[in-house]
């Protein structure tokens, strides 16, 4: 089976120039891969670097060393060294990401926030809005909120908008950073079903889930990130 995401020997540290150049090692020697239709869950205590790994894979964090190989339109792109426009192209067509918090844009309605990734790929606006509506309905977001900008929504409502936005495309790889953290049991089950559907379509899913029930329901395997922690290596 194809392996659209391969991470090899990735290392990351922060240099805090405002704190006398202190070096904060984050992770070392991160190597793993995710196959089509597989859901790999990053495990380990908080602060061990799980979110940092997702941010490196999405290009929000720079990488000190190593490779992040993504199969993008029939060829491999190394996101660790790719130019900004290559990263944006991979994000648009191949790599999806549901962050912990929704970045709200003033004046843009929830429906359009969700539809945007499809519009960016040239999908007709009416079609994109229809798909967005279907997802928001599935996630039980009250209909009267759809036309409002999500700035004033509750945490759980914003998170559902965020999930719908991440799931609306048919990206081959999906990164999920605690998508169910602020959801109630009913909506957690909806998200579990949506992840299962993505897996069935052959999407490679990499996620962080603190909720055990969700983790057990979606994970094919759990990758313990403490193995990559430089602090552990030092101990």
């Amino acid at each position: 089976m194809a392996t659209p995401l391969v991470v090899s020997e990735v290392a990351k540290s922060f240099t805090m120039h405002l704190r006398d150049g202190i070096q904060l090692p984050v992770v070392n020697g991160v190597s793993f891969s995710v196959r089509q239709g597989e859901c790999v869950v990053l495990g380990g205590p908080s602060g061990v670097g799980k979110s940092s790994i997702l941010k490196m894979l999405y290009g929000n964090y720079a990488v000190d060393a190593g490779q992040i190989l993504i199969e993008h339109q029939g060829h491999l792109v190394d996101l660790a060294t790719a130019a900004p426009r290559a990263v944006l192209e991979v994000r648009r067509d191949t790599l999806g990401y549901v962050s912990q918090f929704l970045r709200v844009v003033p004046r843009v309605s929830a429906l359009d926030v969700v539809a945007e990734p499809l519009l960016a790929r040239g999908v007709d606006q009416a079609v994109a809005r229809e798909r967005a509506s279907a997802l928001l309905a599935k996630l039980n977001l009250p209909h009267e909120l759809w036309q409002l900008p999500p700035a004033t929504f509750s945490g759980g409502e914003q998170q559902r908008v965020n999930i719908a936005r991440g799931f609306i495309t048919d990206h081959a790889i999906l990164l999920l950073d605690e998508p169910t953290a602020s959801l109630d049991a009913k909506n957690r089950r909806v998200v579990v079903e949506m992840i299962a559907a993505k897996k069935a379509e052959g999407v490679a899913v990499l996620g962080i889930f603190h909720d055990e029930e969700v983790r057990d329901a979606v994970a094919d395997r759990i990758l313990d990130v403490s193995a990559f922690s430089p602090r552990k290596a030092a101990a």
Partner: protein
């Protein structure tokens, strides 16, 4: 996606006597890409913008533009008439102060229509209809078409300046602190508008701003300037989430949270 850059900037420097404006700047801008140039005042970002948009001659270095005929032209070697034509048609320039980019004593409609006439439109009815359409797109009531921008609020003036610049379907727009003098609520509306138009029209843009939130919202890519040099550049998300240089870390850590 087009396979060639719209603008190629190679080792551009500008000196004012012995003082450095900007130094050794090189980058490429691709079609549909929005680049933010950030840095504090005096960092050289406006000088760089002026050099790129031919408002200033660089002391050294080359800026090449991909013309509609598919050829690259060295902007410094272009004739004055040709350069002016380019600026009036294929480019836009949005000034921080709308009064610098508008004619304050002619009507809003004429401010928009003037650029259309520069590209050869002569039919009064068409010009007026297009102007009215653009006023609507920038959320100015159509019944203000005969008013002078002097009678407009700051936010409306800025939106009018944007309409005036975009009416000729330019491929490249330069913006110098486009939200600079506006109230935050007016800023949000303008940002949303610019964001939508850039996306709908597939524009390339170079935006100078000291406001990192503006850069985050509008730009794909970012260059951080200090003392005339580009000290850090990359994907906007990356520069803001994982700043590497001491000065960029200082900028990012100085953002006030609300």
């Amino acid at each position: 996606m087009s396979a060639v850059p719209l603008l190629k900037v190679n080792d551009v420097s500008k000196f004012y006597g012995s003082r450095i404006g900007c130094r050794n700047v090189s980058f490429e801008l691709w079609p549909g890409e929005v680049l933010a140039i950030v840095g504090e005042s005096g960092s050289g970002k406006t000088t760089l913008l002026s050099c790129l948009s031919t408002r200033l001659m660089p002391s050294s270095g080359i800026v090449e533009y991909h013309m509609r005929d598919g050829q690259y032209r060295d902007l410094a070697r272009m004739g004055e008439a040709e350069r002016r034509f380019l600026m009036r048609t294929d480019w836009g320039f949005v000034h921080q102060n709308p009064a610098d980019g508008l004619r304050m004593t002619v009507s809003a409609g004429a401010n928009v229509g003037e650029r259309l006439m520069a590209v050869g439109d002569r039919h009064y009815g068409n010009i007026r209809a297009t102007a009215a359409d653009w006023l609507r797109r920038v959320e100015i009531e159509e019944d203000r078409i005969d008013d002078q921008p002097r009678a407009f609020s700051g936010g409306m003036r800025q939106r009018l300046q944007i309409a005036r610049n975009l009416v000729t379907s330019p491929r490249l727009v330069f913006m110098d602190e486009p939200t600079g003098g506006l109230d935050v609520s007016v800023q949000a509306r303008l940002l949303d508008l610019v964001r939508g138009l850039v996306h709908d029209l597939g524009l390339s843009a170079i935006i100078v701003t000291h406001d990192l939130a503006v850069a985050r919202l509008l730009s794909h890519r970012m260059m951080v300037m200090k003392d005339g040099l580009v000290i850090e550049q990359g994907l906007t998300d990356r520069v803001l989430d994982d700043p590497r240089e001491p000065y960029t870390q200082l900028l990012v850590s100085s953002i006030l949270q609300v």
